[in-house]
């Protein structure tokens, strides 16, 4: 009897005790977000859980490998009805979703929606001017909200720098000298991503080639293009990259993936890496042998062109072919995601916020968030990589040719000249006007 009384009491307590958790009635339709698997996913998952807890709404994540996520997004927006209500688009490929007319302007869902002034617009990549077919907020419509501010940041071993009395490098030459000092039989001076993938080695060579005055394809003010893949600056940048790889880097740089590079840093096998920060990882004693020993700085540059880094950010867009209720629910999530609360929670979960206010807040002074200052310093010098929908075809070319040059399969000038000619074929096929420079000697 006594036991039964206690059991009933426990049941009543559980019922009423659980009440506050269910008190937040779901106000929006459940939504599904398609996203890629990466070191930054756990942070996004944590912030989604917080949203569900605070709003009572339901969000499902459809997680895929990087290339698989792009294919799923394409298939979804081209179907009669999209199974996904929010697409997490990568900086390399978002233009094809804009130009294809697949993304619903956010103000068409709710006229009152505004992008918070604290949120970075990343070279206006959140807007699209359909008439001018240009990425710009000047006359363009707001199509997306940034989710992750992915840019390359120099990671270096703070403890080794202190031990050897080194200064944080601002030029590639200084980085080379420091890497030479820190290189040992069991430690690489630097570990670089050189493997060919969807947007892998190309992304990582941008800081080198841009800071030497080179590039891949630049859009000119009149809308035409300048192929700079075989410009002297691109060659100089690649020579710097290859010199680091050959003299102080990993012996298998052409075979290194992002995972390998991060792994080399986390296990203490690399003194430097250039990577999108995964700060939660390096300070987690379950995943890292260098807890508290990694510090961050903007990527080096040259004496003529200082640090410049490519935007690899993620943008969240709502497909046109999902129901108005789902679109409204997706916008509710994006509205909440911009708040200070959400952005701070995102940082606390080990990801990088897209809010300037949070990046430059008192959080940046805390040891745990020491990467924020480097990020805030690098972001003003970040650039969009590709601004046309045929980016995936150009990337297939550059990924192969950069990889061949790094691996020594092709001589550098030959690799760059070949790639430039191949890019010209893509641009010509797409009907663009462009300039192809004379081949490198």
């Amino acid at each position: 009897m006594h036991t039964r009384f206690l059991s009933m009491g426990a049941l009543a307590l559980a019922t009423f005790g659980a009440y506050p958790a269910t008190a937040l009635a779901q106000t929006e339709e459940p939504i599904t977000i398609v996203i890629n698997q990466s070191p930054w996913l756990p942070g996004f998952q944590a912030v989604v859980e917080l949203y569900e807890k605070t709003s009572g709404n339901t969000v499902d994540l459809d997680v895929n490998p990087f290339a698989g996520s792009l294919e799923k997004q394409r298939t979804a927006v081209r179907a009669d009805a999209s199974p996904f209500d929010l697409l997490i688009m990568n900086a390399g490929f978002f233009t094809e979703f804009y130009t294809g007319g697949f993304i619903k302007p956010l103000k068409e869902i709710s006229d009152s929606f505004e992008l918070s002034e604290d949120i970075y617009t990343f070279d206006d990549s959140v807007c699209w001017n359909a008439d001018a077919r240009t990425i710009t907020c000047d006359g363009g419509e707001l199509l997306a909200v940034p989710v992750n501010p992915n840019v390359l940041i120099l990671h270096y071993r703070r403890d080794l720098y202190e031990e050897h009395g080194l200064e944080v490098p601002t030029t590639w030459e200084q980085l080379y000298e420091n890497a030479k000092v820190l290189k040992t039989d069991s430690r690489y001076g630097i570990s670089q991503r050189g493997q060919r993938g969807a947007f892998d080695v190309t992304y990582d060579v941008f800081p080198y080639i841009w800071s030497h005055g080179g590039g891949i394809v630049d859009q000119l003010e009149d809308g035409s293009f300048q192929i700079s893949m075989n410009a002297p600056g691109t060659k100089a940048g690649m020579e710097t990259y290859i010199r680091l790889a050959n003299e102080v880097g990993h012996p298998s740089t052409a075979g290194q993936t992002q995972t390998n590079v991060i792994q080399n840093m986390a296990t203490g096998r690399a003194a430097h890496i250039n990577s999108v920060p995964a700060p939660g990882l390096f300070d987690d004693k379950n995943q890292s042998a260098v807890v508290g020993q990694v510090d961050y700085a903007p990527p080096p540059g040259t004496t003529e062109i200082p640090s410049v880094t490519p935007l690899g950010h993620w943008l969240a867009g709502i497909p046109r072919n999902t129901s108005p209720e789902k679109q409204k629910a997706a916008l509710a999530f994006l509205t909440w995601f911009q708040t200070d609360e959400a952005q701070r929670a995102y940082a606390e979960a080990g990801s990088m916020p897209v809010s300037r206010a949070v990046l430059e807040s008192e959080m940046a002074d805390q040891e745990e968030y020491r990467w924020m200052k480097a990020m805030a310093e690098a972001l003003p010098n970040s650039r969009l990589t590709f601004t046309f929908p045929e980016a995936s075809q150009v990337l297939a070319i550059t990924e192969l040719r950069f990889n061949q040059a790094i691996g020594g399969e092709l001589e550098l000038s030959e690799a760059l000249n070949t790639a430039a000619d191949e890019i010209a074929v893509v641009l010509e096929g797409a009907g663009y006007s462009f300039v192809l420079p004379d081949p490198l000697p």
């Binding site: 294919e71 927006v77 094809e96 493997q195 046109r320 995936s392």
Partner: protein, 291 residues
Amino acid sequence: MRADGIWRYATLLPAILFFALLTFLPLANLVALSFHEVEWNEATAVWNWVGAENFLALPADNLLRAGILNTVIFAVVAVALQMIIGFFLALWTTQVIRGRLFYRTIFILPILVPGIIIGAIWKLMYSYDFGVINSALGVFGIGPVDWLGNPNLALLSVIIVDVWHWTPFCFLLLLAGLESLPKDVFEAARVDGASDRQMLRYITLPLMLPTLIVTFVFRMILAFKVFDEIYLLTGGGPGTATEVISYTIYRRFFTEDQVGYGAAMSIAVIALIAVMILTATRATTRKADQS
């Protein structure tokens, strides 16, 4: 009697139609696609007729050329090794009296492991910095060896994985073939004083030839379609060292979103493989008939 025949065909018709729809419709769609270029505008697909342009661009495609060459090398070397190892393992297993079931189970284990797991296992084993293979070699003062990053070694490394993965397939088919051979022929040969080598050369191999041909053709078809091992281990690199046809089609069709060109490539490759398989089958069947 005639009514029986009509009834027989009538009952088969739904299955034939179903099969035809599943097989020919996608193929017809692929053929149609191969003569077009598809653009997306206002969320609508626009099919632009390009005639044979997609097919004419194929010979100049450096990735496709590398893919064909690597696929042929991969298929010939991997399947040859699988056939040889599989045959001798099967031969040995038929001679084992105790524990035959145990060995059979052990030998077929790799084929039961999903491709994605195999990729993960071997990628870890091949890792330059942390792999067990390089660690083992290090004990003898060798290496480290760049198994997947060295253009001269990468294809061989993938072939080793494929041999490990698919030899059980050959083993299984060839074991079934060996176990079904008539025993009296071997007994008679033994009575006549034939040695083991002579029995293998003059009895086992000729009798096994039909099974060997079927196994070879099956494996060649599968080897030409290799994708998962390349996708997981090397991504076609370094450079084009491990680029194979299926992976090139995947890149062109899906990653680069060139669906018309990718369709043309698929059709050309289907035709190429069909010709190669037919030629190989015809040649080996003729040989079997002769013997």
